[in-house]
């Protein structure tokens, strides 16, 4: 019996340690923009490996700033941010690309290059990190199949529907095996049905072990998926629930 307790507490300890090695951690993060807008006011949060987190909140509450801090598009006025072991703020200029390679970002407006085909858009992310050409070819095919676009490799973005374009963007985010995928309202420009398809895709990716942080306005999706929900209001985290709900009427 004693033996069992011992083992049990050990495994518990392991679990605690795992959580402390968070994928994303923010410590007392503040952000005031040069124009005086105070977007974030004292954010403390930990997101563990393999978690799926929705970030909700009304427009202008600070969701986007919160998201952008993680891949260093926005710098905090105060506080520390860690992403997969990188101290994002203390990074030397030359190390930023290395940090960004750990992160796949998906945007509301897809941000695909219009002159490149779907496959080229995805391959681009691998070329940039100087992957061998052979490896690029096989991996691009692999992720394009994963997102369900195995047959549209050579289509240009404007020949694809919005949902398909977003799938290409997800494939691009995924292609370099990122530790975490950050998505800023990825379904914001899509109709409900397509939104669901994209959401299932994210779910599939999450189940394969990739951490996902997603800012969204989509109430139905958040309420149905029952994942962790961070609610940001007025620059602060006002709610942090496991298996949470959207919690807004809008």
């Amino acid at each position: 019996m004693k033996q069992w307790t011992h083992t049990r507490s050990n495994s518990l300890k392991c679990l605690v340690e795992d959580v402390s090695k968070a994928m994303i951690e923010m410590q007392d993060v503040w952000k005031t923009y040069p124009n005086g807008v105070s977007a974030l006011r004292g954010i403390d949060v930990k997101i563990g490996r393999g978690e799926f987190v929705y970030v909700v909140g009304s427009s202008g509450a600070g969701k986007s700033t919160f998201i952008k801090l993680m891949y260093r598009e926005v710098r905090p006025s105060k506080g520390s941010i860690f992403v997969n072991g990188f101290n994002v703020e203390k990074l030397k200029e030359g190390k930023i690309p290395l940090m960004r390679r750990q992160i796949g970002v998906v945007f509301q407006d897809f941000k695909l290059l219009p002159q490149l085909t779907a496959a080229e858009n995805v391959a681009f992310a691998m070329e940039v990190i100087e992957a061998p050409r052979k490896k690029i070819k096989t991996r691009v095919k692999e992720v394009m199949e994963l997102v369900g676009l195995g047959s549209k490799l050579n289509a240009l973005p404007n020949q694809l529907s919005g949902g398909e374009q977003q799938r290409v963007a997800v494939a691009r985010a995924l292609v370099n095996h990122p530790a975490v995928i950050i998505a800023d309202e990825p379904t914001g420009n899509l109709d409900p049905e397509t939104s669901w398809e994209i959401m299932h895709l994210f779910n599939k990716i999450n189940q394969q072990g990739t951490t996902i942080v997603m800012a969204t306005h989509n109430k139905e999706i958040v309420n149905t998926m029952k994942q962790r929900v961070l609610a940001i209001e007025d620059g602060q985290i006002v709610r942090d629930e496991r298996m949470g709900a959207y919690g807004y009427e809008d």
């Binding site: 960004r100 970002v105 941000k111 290059l113 940039v128 100087e130 370099n176």
Partner: protein, 293 residues
């Protein structure tokens, strides 16, 4: 950097030229126009420079020997003149030579001089040229103090005026060339900036997927270099063509023009250099602005 990556950058640079067709056209067009203006002006300025040099080279002084100086004293004076450092040539013109020269000048009216041979009023003289024509007046001052020198005709008033005019021409010409170079730099780098601005999204995405800055810069370097060089080749050929006509047109006139080959090498080399440098660095600087994502 891996060779494969370098090849990729060059390939991308070339691809971008065709991919952004109209933008490339605009940028190359502005390079062509500015470099054409610069090139034409440079051609004029170089010819003007050669012309003024030629005029300058004709500046000389007459050192008049005192009447009755003995032959040996004249010889020693010649030695002394020749030993001055910075003197290019010393030519002795005896009184007899002087009459001959005068006769040739007067040609048909040479008989006016009949009788002068018997009692030649002309002095013996030396025609002295300085290696640097600008030193002529200084030498004249010095030579005036030499023994057996009656006077030195250095044409001071005329020479000084000539130099003033030449100086003004050179300063204005040089100023305009420098001004045009800066205008060219400004115009070209501005156009490149616009073409890159149109592609800031591409740069942004590269940054977000973790490309390092040099990886992003290289294709722009290659592209800028190509655009600059391409933009220079067109005005170079136009100037070569136009100038060859000009050389023909002025062939049998008093106006002296520089030979085609030498001039095109100079002007062409300069334009190509400017085009390549501005193209490359214009791109580099413009990209830098968008790298701060």
């Amino acid at each position: 950097m891996k060779i494969r990556t370098m090849i990729r950058h060059v390939r991308e640079g070339f691809k971008n030229i065709t991919r952004n067709g109209w933008m490339t056209f605009a940028a190359v067009g502005s390079v062509v126009v500015t470099l054409l203006i610069l090139g034409v002006f440079l051609t004029l300025a170089l010819n003007l420079q050669a012309f003024t040099k030629d005029v300058e080279a004709q500046v000389q002084m007459d050192v008049i020997v005192q009447q009755g100086t003995s032959r040996s004293d004249i010889d020693s004076l010649e030695e002394r003149l020749k030993s001055l450092s910075g003197v290019k040539s010393v030519q002795f013109v005896s009184k007899e030579d002087g009459i001959q020269i005068l006769k040739e000048k007067l040609k048909d009216n040479a008989d006016l001089l009949t009788g002068l041979e018997l009692e030649n009023p002309l002095p013996d003289k030396f025609v002295v040229k300085a290696a640097d024509p600008r030193d002529t007046l200084q030498f004249a001052e010095q030579i005036r103090t030499f023994p057996f020198v009656d006077k030195v005709k250095d044409g001071k008033d005329v020479v000084e005026k000539l130099y003033n005019v030449i100086d003004v021409i050179r300063w204005v010409g040089g100023g305009l060339v420098i001004g045009l170079v800066f205008t060219a730099i400004f115009l070209i780098s501005n156009t490149i900036k616009i073409t890159i601005f149109a592609r800031r999204r591409e740069i942004e995405i590269m940054k977000l997927v973790g490309a390092n800055n040099w990886f992003i810069r290289w294709p722009f370097f290659v592209e800028g270099l190509l655009m600059g060089a391409l933009g220079a080749l067109i005005p170079i050929s136009l100037i070569a063509l136009g100038y060859s006509y000009a050389v023909d047109a002025f062939k049998n006139t008093l106006i002296m023009v520089l030979p085609l080959e030498g001039l095109i090498m100079q002007v062409g080399g300069f334009l190509l250099l400017i085009g390549a440098i501005i193209g490359t660095f214009g791109s580099a600087f413009s990209v830098r602005k968008f790298l701060k994502v």
